[in-house]
Symmetry: C2
Subunit: 203 residues, 2 copies
């Protein structure tokens, strides 16, 4: 299994380098558990979904605590057949998810969101879950949307994606649950996610 993300932070500010550099400090506690590589477009993070999503959440929360409008784009991927197996990406939630019916996965995903720690930082997210390489991929996607609607973070449906709104702790836990509990455990699943905070045109 290979699990990771390409992450880009976009502060809508002329001091964007400062905002990015200072926010990156929030990744420090997670660095021992993640492989991190940066180029001029994005930062690759590889690791288990625990530190991976915690790191992404903490990075964006740190940026959103600054006054500027900031957005983040994340491409999450697990099980891509083109990537090498990586023992650091082992994840018990994934194996467990495979053995459970959809209803039970929806229930456990909701419990995880309810138990997530708050950050005090309100954010908006929109994302798409893609289940590749199997028939009936929409069943898993519709199951995931059902979970999101009950999760307390659902804001509305849009073409091609779902919008979440709430505390960054609950919202990123909802994303992690969507990523882990829907689509086969050994399958190829990706997420295309945009996060936004401090927008001057908040709907």
């Amino acid at each position: 299994m290979f699990i990771g993300a390409q992450v880009s932070l976009y502060p809508m500010s002329s001091r964007f380098v400062d905002v990015i550099t200072s926010s990156l400090q929030a990744l420090d506690p997670h660095r021992p558990d993640l492989r991190i590589e940066t180029d001029d477009i994005s930062t690759l993070m590889v690791g288990a979904p625990g530190p991976l999503l915690d790191g992404i959440r903490d990075l964006f929360t740190a940026a959103a605590r600054q006054p500027e409008h900031v957005t983040m784009h994340v491409t999450l991927s697990r099980g891509c057949p083109g990537e090498p197996d990586d023992p650091s990406c082992r994840c018990d939630t994934l194996s467990e998810a495979q053995s459970l019916p959809l209803d039970e996965r929806i229930r456990r995903a909701g419990q995880a969101v309810a138990a997530s720690p708050g950050t005090g930082v309100p954010i908006d997210v929109q994302f798409s879950l893609y289940v590749l390489g199997q028939d009936r991929h929409m069943d898993e996607i519709y199951g995931c949307i059902e979970f999101l609607k009950r999760s307390g973070t659902f804001f509305r449906s849009k073409n091609f994606c779902t919008r979440l709104r709430g505390d960054a702790g609950a919202v990123f836990e909802a994303v992690r649950q969507a990523f882990l509990r829907f689509g086969p455990a050994e399958g190829h699943v990706t997420i295309d996610l945009t996060a936004s905070a401090n927008s001057p045109s908040l709907a």
Copy 2:
């Protein structure tokens, strides 16, 4: 068939509203052919791949002609089973693609990139093509990567995505060809794309 995109423009500048507003004028010639709806996170564009990708290219090129570092995120989708059929999204290239073997599709995609008009604006792009709801989805993805490597816009492979570099005209034509000629004509295909220009940390 329903074809469209969620598009977000991110100028890394405190005058980001001005950059976005002025760049949006580049969409004007394409507005009669597209359905366009904006909220605080992204702009939905629905229409055939001709005006759709031309509009996205012209929007980003207009922003990249300004001095600020600017990025754009695009979620492209065609054939999503959850979306309604829309006659305005009709596309002959798609129907033609279905009847041709992979080698011939790679050849025609390359011809289209070679024939694309230049803009004089150099850009970087990274993107992932997702073919959903069928077995052997990686064959189409590997075929697409083979096309990209021969397209004159290939820069390098990364985890989860491929980087392109070159004139905005050729790069967005390569993206359009990837979107149209790989994956089944009636299938569910998506692209997760990030574009970047004027980056101070250009690799």
